[in-house]
């Protein structure tokens, strides 16, 4: 396998982009990434998108996006793993470059979620759960994470304020991110008193409905050197699956696919979690960030909430998590999220994060964890600045 680097990153301002089409949102982000990489062409493209069909009635979207990007006829594919589609697109592109099949590959992600009503979005997102044995009974996505939250609170004593601390911290970081959908700060009281969605999860525990895209360019380290770009090397890629029905898992308070994906990525990189300086993780709900931080081994099992409340995952903490603002503040256009995580890791490793959210002490190694559904799929990538 060849050594692979990320040489270009692109993202646009996320939000309710009523004036922009599905295709234009993607093309904007892709053009920024191509320009940032300084390449004169891409050989192929892989796009993560959860459900263009349900959100905008558009499947067969990879060909359309290639055409609108000005790359008609290149090999272009769309991959899907629910909310982990972006992470899967990155891994697919990584394998394509590492294998020698292509030299310069664009990995993108896109979702346009505001062309349907709130109810339509709830329906589309719920397709990531078991239709016949969860959704049929009235389960929603916040509902499934609420089931994990109650189990975690019962078992480990995680509290309401600990959940809120995750939201407060991510909004504090997101307020410094020019691309974030909701770049405002919040307080424990505001989160604690926000509208209940599925107890104990309130609206300020939940990531929003977002239109957005992100793109990155992968190539070999040899070509990256010729481009004269900072070399941000992909040193680990881990991917794992689990039952998509939450109730089929042995333990409701851990995320086995995330644990395995993390272990696989670290093993490939020849590192331990202690070697990693910071991470972007999949905080679709506050409880998700807490459990993921435990499943990845960042914090001890059962202590994820306590560590967040103590500030250990803040910009100044012992292990900063979601410096971008996470899904909570930055937004969660599901298929784009996994790529936007890579975008933030690269920004931090290049020392280019805006508005005072740049980590001090020159971080060297960053991790991105992207999760599908209630944890039925997970992808972990580790990047290192050369």
């Amino acid at each position: 396998m060849r050594d692979v680097a990320v040489v270009g990153i692109g993202m646009n301002k996320w939000g309710e982009l009523w004036g922009k089409s599905f295709r234009d949102i993607f093309v904007e982000a892709a053009l920024i990434a191509i320009k940032d990489a300084g390449v004169d062409k891409i050989d192929s493209m892989t796009i993560g998108c959860m459900t263009g069909g349900l959100f905008v009635g558009q499947e067969h979207l990879a060909s359309m996006m290639a055409d609108y990007l000005g790359y008609k006829h290149i090999p272009a594919s769309r991959v899907e793993s629910a909310c982990a589609s972006g992470g899967l697109a990155f891994r697919t592109a990584y394998i394509e470059v590492a294998s020698g099949m292509s030299d310069i590959v664009l990995a993108g992600g896109v979702e346009k979620m505001t062309d349907v009503s709130g109810d339509g979005a709830t329906y589309a997102l719920a397709t990531a759960a078991d239709q016949e044995y969860e959704v049929f009974h009235g389960a929603t996505f916040p509902g499934l994470y609420a089931l994990m939250a109650v189990a975690h609170m019962e078992k480990y004593g995680t509290t309401r304020d600990m959940l809120s601390a995750v939201s407060v911290k991510n909004h504090k970081n997101g307020a410094k991110n020019p691309n974030a959908q909701y770049p405002f700060e919040t307080t424990i009281e505001e989160v604690n008193n926000s509208v209940m969605v599925a107890s104990p999860l309130r609206i300020m525990d939940c990531s929003p409905i977002t239109d957005g895209a992100a793109a990155v360019i992968l190539t070999t380290v040899d070509i990256a050197k010729k481009l004269g770009k900072p070399i941000i090397k992909v040193i680990g890629s881990g991917h794992a699956t689990d039952t998509i029905a939450l109730h089929s898992r042995k333990d409701l308070t851990t995320l086995a696919a995330t644990k395995l994906a993390g272990e696989r990525a670290l093993k490939m990189a020849g590192k331990t979690i202690k070697d990693v300086d910071f991470a972007e993780v999949h905080d679709c709900f506050t409880i998700a960030e807490i459990i993921v931080s435990e499943s990845l081994g960042i914090f001890p099992v059962g202590k994820g909430g306590e560590m967040a409340a103590k500030g250990e995952s803040s910009l100044e903490g012992s292990f900063p998590i979601n410096t971008s603002g996470g899904l909570k503040s930055k937004g969660h256009p599901v298929g784009a999220t996994g790529i936007a995580q890579i975008y933030e890791i690269v920004k931090q490793l290049r020392g280019q994060a805006e508005n005072g959210r740049q980590l001090k002490n020159n971080p060297k190694i960053g991790m991105a964890q992207n999760m599908g559904g209630s944890g039925g799929s997970s992808l972990v990538h580790i990047l290192e600045v050369a």
Binding site: G138, A139, V150, A198, H247
Partner: protein, 131 residues
């Protein structure tokens, strides 16, 4: 929901039919073609017990369109005496009084009425035992 989709699951929804692996005894609900524990492909059909213990629950306030009339409603995961776990609604109870660890009975109930194909679907729900 298209009628065939409901009809196909009738053994599970109406009669709690599961598949028990003839090799290792693993109980699959719904039935599967391959045992996730040992890889065997021979199963016998058994009926699940109709009692369980509540492992976790939530009260859903923002509901999908088929369930808006019922919101707020509780759903939970219960573990049956044989280790099988199910997700279902908790009914005939005060949602404020639901507690993890509570015993539930599994009863046959109506699940959805607001369906685009006019189908009324039935299945199982949890009823806390103290009622």
């Amino acid at each position: 929901m298209f009628p065939s989709r409901i009809w196909r699951e009738k053994g599970q929804r109406y009669r709690l039919e599961a598949g028990k692996c003839r090799t290792c005894g693993y109980i699959a609900f719904p039935p599967r073609l391959v045992c996730p524990e040992c890889g065997a492909v021979e199963f016998e059909t058994i009926k699940l017990p109709d009692i369980g213990k509540l492992l976790t629950y939530t009260v859903i306030r923002v509901a999908p369109s088929q369930f808006t009339d019922e919101a707020p409603y509780a759903i939970g995961i219960a573990e049956l005496p044989n280790g099988v776990k199910l997700t279902a609604q908790l009914v005939d109870c005060d949602v404020e009084k639901i507690k993890v660890g509570m015993d539930v009975r599994i009863e046959f109930r109506r699940i959805q009425t607001h369906d685009t194909h006019g189908v009324i679907s039935y299945g199982y729900k949890f009823v806390p035992k103290w009622y």
